[in-house]
Symmetry: C2
Subunit: 248 residues, 2 copies
């Protein structure tokens, strides 16, 4: 039976989603928890990897099991053995053809920024700090230029070997809320480090270091060197994953 | 010269403000940082102690120094040596008669609650969890009954030996915001554990286990046994301290 999970995690103390030879990962914690409650070794597949230090409000993953635990009870059995920084929000039976990664249609991420001369203890865990003031309206204009189907090669980590760098973005906007500047982006998929590089590019727009036409040029030129720096992982949170027009 | 500091801290990893024989405290970290930058051993006095695990958005403290560092530069010198979960928001010269504790006129605290069957990784650091739904309107009505000058003995930790248990509360209200239920209280001072016991009492009101008249009765009877449980420290944050009608 295929089980689908919705998962929330604080990524601070993990080396990302995917199992690594060194360092603890979210996938490893969940697979260990499943083994504890079912006695079965299994492999859990997420909608996508999140990097070291990235958080998830609602990640989606699936695994197969022969356990007699009712699908809708898995979340509570797993939560009893999971650490407090990883919890299963819900569980249920999935169609045999459901695949957390390949069936995913849209993902939404948030990148949170705050302005500060030094790290603010009550903001620094889930947001990245920028020292100078930012023009949020300009950042929002630049963000909206990314909506649509584009080759996002300029926002791909330089060390990646991915071939197909075309993605479609449905929403891309920047707004101020409760003392944070928040970049929200929804797309059919994202390249490695793409959102963190977009965030770094938008920060430069907000500082007046990039004009809107320069953002346009980097999309056309497809050169990573033209875009902004990769912003820190801790500001990034996977908000939701959608499947077949409805959230799983 | 007397220096006044505004301090923000994440209390999670500290045994509260005040120096303890065992366990690291915020006061100790700040005194150590002052010694590092001035070479002087000194004693830092806060507006009040915060308990183990309690956070501060803006605590106020003072200390005396012979250092030649300009008062308004202290914050940045201290931040360079302080850990990331304690930072000085601002520093300045204070009047010789200024005393962070005795000159304080009003303090504001927030107690944050969220509803959850299990701990939510992205909420659990700065808020306390309650399993069952709460009637926020009823909680707000009960909270407002506490405004005014009252003997708050019923909300004093049972092991305290404090004699004068009369305090004046200027604001006391409950509201829902961004998925949290937030109790905000401003007063001229608070007894040991008072806000956490009030929060526990308001939770029982929200669950329908206490009526408004029962809250009235516990104030009259002055008995700790009649009030609710002491809620966890992590939900409590010192928001601000006011002096002589203006915030320091």
């Amino acid at each position: 039976m295929r089980i689908v999970l919705k998962i929330q995690y604080d990524g601070t103390n993990y080396c990302g989603w995917q199992i690594q030879p060194n360092g603890n990962t979210v996938q490893e914690e969940i697979e260990r928890a499943i083994e504890k409650i079912t006695g079965e070794k299994c492999s859990v597949t997420a909608s996508g990897r999140t990097d070291s230090g990235v958080h998830a409000l609602s990640q989606v993953a699936h695994f197969d099991t022969n356990s007699a635990i009712p699908p809708e009870k898995f979340y509570s059995a797993l939560n009893a053995v999971l650490p407090n920084d990883i919890k299963i929000l819900s569980s249920g039976e999935a169609d045999e053809n459901f695949h957390a990664r390949f069936s995913a249609k849209r993902k939404t991420y948030e990148y949170k920024i705050y302005i500060g001369e030094f790290p603010l203890p009550l903001k620094d865990r889930y947001a990245a700090r920028v020292v100078t003031a930012l023009d949020v309206k300009k950042m929002d204009e630049a963000a909206k230029m990314l909506v649509g189907k584009h080759d996002f090669k300029c926002f791909l980590a330089a060390n990646s070997s991915v071939k197909d760098t075309v993605r479609e973005i449905y929403r891309s906007s920047v707004a101020e809320k409760d003392g944070y500047i928040i970049y929200t982006v929804t797309g059919n998929g994202f390249l490695y480090n793409m959102i963190r590089i977009i965030a770094g590019t938008l920060v430069k727009v907000g500082q007046g270091k990039f004009s809107l036409s320069e953002v346009d040029e980097m999309l056309v030129a497809k050169s990573r060197a033209l875009a902004g720096a990769t912003m820190p992982a801790k500001g990034l949170t996977l908000i939701s994953v959608e499947y077949e027009n409805k959230e799983k």
